[in-house]
Symmetry: C2
Subunit: 505 residues, 2 copies
């Protein structure tokens, strides 16, 4: 009888069936597959798939109905890219050893405290994409609520930093800023960066694109210039201009966090520890030494009460101390949108208005940006508050900050003016009264239904503020969209939620 | 401007792409889909999919590469069956409200104790297939280890009973038995049921098919007769014969448990509470009033130490008391396979040998079956141990139990003799010595690689026992398979693991 020397390895023919499961690596095998049967593979089993010297670990889904034939195998899109396979390549399938680091997740679930080495192992495995979604979910569950001790949050943060790339700038002071939880229109970064850079402090900013919001800083900056910078391009820009605003998504600053956050969001499970590790690991990995963290507080903001904001502040500072990052936290009003525009182009326009000191410049956005920039000055230069504010205001009023933004844009690939949406519709108040409440989340939804951020020009232009006295028929906001269908969607959603979106007294 | 009254409902054209995700309901939409974009649907978002008055909730996967075109939508196999859709049907897609019962899962994760109503809600939602895998994983995590208080295990058990069907037998005493964790070859049920039924005690047994083992009782019984009984057929058999052995899988006795157990197994997270609720809810739902639970203890069994077995016993009894089920737990040897045959047909042959008092009958299987049957007699009739054993042995020795098994088979659809595998290979000991350890899990693996349980005749015939003195070249076991390839697989795996499978001193 012939004896196979590698009986647990089976070759199957690759066929692309075009399933994108997002970050999760999934392998598809037909129910008829003799390998599945003889090896006892079941749905959700983790398998090792190898090709041409590379190997991944993927979760098994069983297909039926002839999509795959006996002897064929398929992979999810991310898995195809990782293995770089093509139609009709022969893939090897094998059992994998149980995930050792899941032992630590189980220990955490059973109430134990994990140490640095244990968090390192978990985060390395997650960054290496060895965790399927159900494993990620169990880890998120284990760390949820206030289940993590301070020392564990420190360990998790360190583990996340170690598992990603770290940017190096060769400067003693590298400034950064962060805002916890989105507030529609809060595009301060694009004002703060040119102010700080024009003051001679290095601020190589990496920003994210919108995930659930109508615009991220990277989306808004992209209206004005290129944000897809390589690390080398970013270094060149920063060397020349002292600052940049680049998309951080491709830099793998905290790859484990990028993976965890998707499952966390889908589960809607909050974890203070995860949030702190997420924020601080990315700042440290981006090479920051001094960072101001803005915590907007409001009913429809991420942090809802001032008590929560204070607790979060304390924790952030303790963990930042541990990893050697100087931070200053500030709380701000999170009860209404910031500025007028909501959506990439409309927010970019607000930024330009502020930096050009135009009459249309939204005062609240200007004030917030100045406050944050002044806090960065106090933190890095250790100057008095009043002096810091004076220095910052001078840079804005003189137009130096505006020139710096243009120079940064030129260095990143050229400056372009924001565009205009094709369709507009202005919404008028159905009644008279004093505006008592604004729902940030629903306002963001209107802007997204209008097409933001995919359509950069789409979004809404907000014309009112809390406590404002408004007459019947007076304009509340204008919806901007690039198709009449999207304009309809957005308007329709507004009409159905009118009374919750803007409350009158 | 036209206003849609139902802006959140979108119609998309159904196309079957043949993905089976097992129990998880999944919806596939192309990345290009305008509905995804405008509604902000992301991968893993839970969506409501409706068609023809029926609706399901499914988790979103995004497809690429032209598998689906803009305006098209697909579903996983189980979702297609639920909605009963066909190619080119128009499906409606809408947002769903957040899953209310996940609030309780989060509360449990945050360290709270849940009450009956809260477990009811969670289990109802799981049984209604509203939980995607990541939600299930977070629930399994929340209940893992010893995180559940006794009162919570009671609540979970009750919730599982309420969420499924309950069989009614109209008798004061309904006997049942259960074995915790599989032991290869431990096919006592097929001996115990005819003994008990022939004593005049009603024992309407529902059994499972193999999930990870080479044979479940339903697989082995199916070698002898039909086990796919409708509830009505089952009632007829039991009315006539006082007992039956039917496949319980289609009876939805504890549908939530069937769903949870798959994720639990993939995660390899143990939860004492889940296990107790799983066992007892199914017994209660099957209409049992008196149940003997066998707990095999051994290094490669589910329960590894006698201490664990005692703790589990205590918990099982407390929860059984709470739900009004009379149980007796017994511990047994879990260090080696039971009987000779491992695999559906080979185990059925052992059962027939025991009941026919043939010389080849494995003594350990006979002894175990007699012990369990006698425990059932003590529990239901409250008789002395010795008397109970005498009564049971008489039923076996007289052939009455055998006749009863044949009658039950006839009532279920006719009796057939077990078949023989096409290929056999006998494994001989490579050395001489005393057998000191047998790895149950690896032995099961050899039988599975040989084709069990799909090939009913496949498996292994085990010829040795612990403490046995064995000479070099003496037979250890015979592999049975229906194809030479499977015989090779099984043999090859054995050769690679030879020293761990059977250890000699």
């Amino acid at each position: 009888m012939k004896v196979h020397s590698q009986h647990t390895k089976h070759s199957l023919l690759f066929k692309d069936i075009g399933i994108d499961t997002n970050q999760e690596l999934v392998v598809f095998m037909p129910a008829s597959c003799h390998v599945c049967k003889s090896e006892g593979f079941q749905a959700l089993t983790r398998l090792s798939i190898s090709f041409n010297g590379a190997a991944i670990i993927a979760a098994l889904n069983i297909t039926n109905d002839g999509l795959l034939n006996e002897g064929e195998i398929s992979l999810s899109k991310s898995a195809i890219q990782k293995l770089n396979v093509q139609e009709n390549d022969l893939l090897n399938v094998a059992h994998v050893e149980p995930l050792q680091s899941m032992t630590h997740v189980r220990a955490k679930l059973y109430g134990n405290t994990l140490n640095q080495q244990q968090y390192d192992k978990i985060i390395q495995d997650i960054a290496a994409e060895k965790y399927s979604n159900i494993f990620l979910s169990s880890f998120v569950a284990a760390c949820s609520g206030d289940n993590m001790k301070l020392e564990e949050i420190c360990s998790l943060t360190m583990a996340m930093i170690k598992a990603g790339n770290k940017l190096e700038w060769g400067n003693e002071i590298i400034a950064d800023k962060h805002c916890v939880g989105g507030l529609p229109g809060n595009r301060t970064t694009m004002i703060v960066v040119p102010i700080i850079a024009s003051l001679g402090i290095m601020i190589p900013k990496t920003s994210s694109r919108a995930i659930t919001s109508p615009a991220g800083t990277a989306d808004s900056m992209e209206v004005l210039t290129n944000v897809n910078l390589s690390l080398k391009q970013m270094h060149n820009v920063v060397e020349r201009e002292n600052g940049c605003i680049a998309w951080g998504g491709a830099m793998k600053l905290s790859p484990a966090d990028d993976i965890i956050i998707k499952v966390e969001r889908a589960l809607d499970i909050d974890s203070e520890g995860q949030m702190i590790a997420s924020i601080l690991s990315k700042k440290a990995a981006a090479g920051a030494t001094h960072c101001v963290i803005d915590i907007p507080v409001g009913n429809t903001a991420k942090v809802r009460t001032i008590d929560d904001a204070i607790n979060l502040s304390l924790r952030l500072r303790e963990v930042a101390d541990y990893i050697g990052l100087n931070i200053q936290t500030i709380t701000s009003d999170g009860t209404q949108p910031v500025g007028n525009g909501i959506g990439p182009s409309l927010e970019a326009r607000d930024v330009l208005d502020v930096l050009q000191n135009s009459a249309a410049a939204p005062k609240d956005l200007r004030k917030r940006a100045i406050t944050i920039a002044a806090e960065i000055l106090q933190l890095t230069w250790n100057v008095e508050k009043q002096l810091a504010e004076d220095l910052v205001i001078k840079k804005v009023d003189s137009g130096e900050a505006f020139s710096k933004l243009i120079s940064i844009c030129e260095a990143q690939g050229g400056f372009h003016e924001p565009g205009q949406a094709k369709y507009c519709k202005t919404i008028e108040s159905a009644a008279a009264g004093i505006i008592s409440e604004i729902d940030n989340r629903k306002i963001a939804r209107v802007a997204k239904l209008a097409g933001a951020p995919d359509a950069a020009e789409a979004g809404i232009d907000f014309m009112v503020q809390l406590k404002q006295n408004i007459g019947k028929g007076e304009p509340l906001f204008t919806i901007h969209a690039n198709s009449s269908g999207e304009l309809e969607y957005a308007y329709d959603y507004y009409k159905q939620n009118e009374k919750q979106i803007i409350k009158l007294n």
